[in-house]
């Protein structure tokens, strides 16, 4: 990982991709956080917005999730800093589980939390219909890659859609022609061989249903005190869409033998790489990206802070039209294997 220079005084250009703010050409920097400590680290490092998973309703595994009380406290801290909180509710619950999920929404809205990230078109449409005040993002797991995809999600009622960092600035420029939806791009992520949202290799070799952790409403004692029907449902561990990255056994990270008929040709890994498009921050901003998103709810505060700070510097350098000296934003190689 490259050394991190001290942060320059933070300029405060207006951002886009942020409701209620003027639209300018400065993209929002959206940081992950998997713990209360990571939330604080992201804020100090210069994130404009932070996304977290709500325990039991976000794809789990190596990713961190916040319990209800932690979420409320994170929201308080983020709002006090003048920043934004987004909550990932990106499992795909069954009907009965969905009803319980929807019961949580008024409590979120009561606390001023209205930015949610979802992973299923049915859930997205139902949430928008029932809670029109929500601001909904179609998760990267929805698989959007094109202008046509962005138009679909806009028509469905999404306020934002997340594209993978494999999308180029030139493609972004084409996609940005779709108006009335915020375009986010995951500029820092692990690209695996199979596209996000289009992989069920892990569950092919091992699918293991397990009970989701309960979401404790404010004031509840602990999970053991809840009746059985209060538990939100089953996490399909091994399923990328329903169980979660990090709980997918990472079979693509293991060596495979390649055979042609009965003849072994090679032993190889599936292609995989860490994408860091920090040197193209200016190109993405010029192409119209509203939000630059970083992957990594499983990151420790110690790893997260320099990553966020690097992108903060790149965005700010771009905003004042200086020549950025951003180098590359890197993480230890092991991180790309153990979590995203």
């Amino acid at each position: 990982m490259r050394s991190i220079r001290p942060v320059a005084p933070v300029r405060t250009p207006r951002r886009k991709g942020s409701p209620g703010r003027g639209v300018t050409d400065v993209p929002t920097l959206l940081s992950p956080a998997g713990s209360p400590e990571a939330v604080r680290a992201a804020l100090v490092a210069g994130a404009d917005a932070v996304y977290v998973g709500l325990k039991g309703w976000s794809r789990g595994g190596a990713r961190g999730e916040l319990g209800w009380d932690e979420l409320v406290e994170a929201h308080r801290e983020i709002a006090a800093a003048g920043k934004e909180l987004r909550v990932a509710l990106n499992t795909i619950p069954k009907p009965a589980e969905r009803a319980r999920l929807f019961q949580q929404i008024p409590a979120l809205l009561d606390r001023g939390i209205r930015d949610l990230i979802v992973n299923d078109i049915g859930i997205l449409a139902a949430l928008k219909r029932r809670f029109p005040e929500l601001r909904l993002t179609a998760s990267i797991g929805c698989g959007a890659l094109t202008a046509a995809d962005a138009a679909f999600f806009r028509d469905l009622g999404a306020d934002a859609v997340v594209l993978p960092g494999t999308v180029s600035p030139a493609e972004m420029r084409e996609i940005r022609r779709i108006r009335d939806i915020s375009i986010e791009i995951m500029v820092h992520m692990v690209e695996e061989f199979v596209l996000l949202g289009k992989c069920w290799m892990p569950s092919y070799v091992n699918l293991k249903p397990s009970r989701l952790p309960a979401v404790l409403p404010p004031g509840a004692a602990d999970e053991a005190d809840l009746p059985d029907d209060a538990h939100p449902g089953i996490r399909q561990t091994g399923s990328m869409k329903r169980g979660g990255v990090g709980a997918c056994y990472r079979i693509c990270q293991e060596p495979w033998e390649l055979f042609d008929g009965g003849r072994r040709l090679d032993t190889r890994f599936f292609p995989s790489r860490q994408i860091s498009r920090i040197s193209e921050v200016r190109a993405f901003a010029d192409a119209g990206a509203d939000v630059l998103k970083l992957q990594g709810r499983s990151l420790s505060p110690e790893l997260l802070a320099p990553l966020v700070r690097s992108y903060r510097e790149a965005i700010d350098a771009r905003a004042v039209r200086t020549i950025p000296d951003v180098g590359s934003a890197e993480l230890p190689a092991a991180w790309t294997v153990v979590g995203r």
């Binding site: 299923d120 890659l145 289009k198 092919y204 070799v205 091992n206 056994y249």
Partner: protein, 327 residues
Amino acid sequence: MRGRNEGRGAVSSFELNTTIANLKDLRESDLTDYDGVYLGDIYCRLYEANFLEQLDDLREGLRILRDQGKRAYVTTYAAPRNDFLPKVQRMLEAAATSGAEAVEIHNLGVLKMAHDAVPELPVHIGGFANVYTAAGAEVLRGYGAVRFTPNYELSLEEIREIAAVCDAPMELLVHGKMPLGVSDYCFLLEYEEKWGTKCPDLCQKELFLKQGDWAMKSVGKGILSGKDVCMLEHLPRLLSEGHRHFRIEALSEGPAYRREVGAVYRAALRRAAGGEGDVDEGWWETLRRHARIGLCNGFYFGKSGMDYSGIRPEAMGSLPTISRLES
């Protein structure tokens, strides 16, 4: 459609379909036992003479199917990029004007394009469209979807819940290699020089990725199950649960596979539709001969996709998954 007039028992009709990628394969295939065919390779624009790129071939393929009295469907790319879209648009228009009865769509952007450009063309939703919930299926109904292949990860119980709500038929993979993933990148290109084989011939090889008792098939940008999904002995259940549309996934297979496996399922469906559930020993032998790695049930019974539930796994050499990951 043969299936519609067959079976005088409890079930009076069914539809058995398959997939063919190019005109050469279509011309070489005996489609006697199929009711319909989806034309096109969903994984790669460079697949040899892909119907989705060769629009004159697509028109000819649709004509051939119509002349044979088959239902002529066209499929579409699972994960198109922005630069695909103009060609996708032309392909949709060609399908609509050349007699396609429906277009199978795996991508939501393409769904919107079809809805806007060719609203008269019925839409079948493919497995990569990620229909996991009835709510999702209902959304897609609003875009002209009249049939669904739910995500392959769903169990029969979950599929039943969707079917009960969305009031549209499900099309189920009953045999063949189940799609497991799609990529932007073809790693087989790394071997062009080493193997002395160029694209698009690379993915015509029979390539399997193996790790212990796990196996998957590579078709370049696509990953398929190594084992063949086999629902032969479960056809009576599928019919009793109201399913009538079935698919033999033979995109990466040869004409013999398509013909012989199709014949087994035509006969088995006819028998099951007549209220009988017996499975001929010869049918098993045919399926075993064509299954390089073995048989599985996919996710239909809520288990790992490579598991097999039923009376025949040992006979087929398809041992249930040994979960090394859990040890």
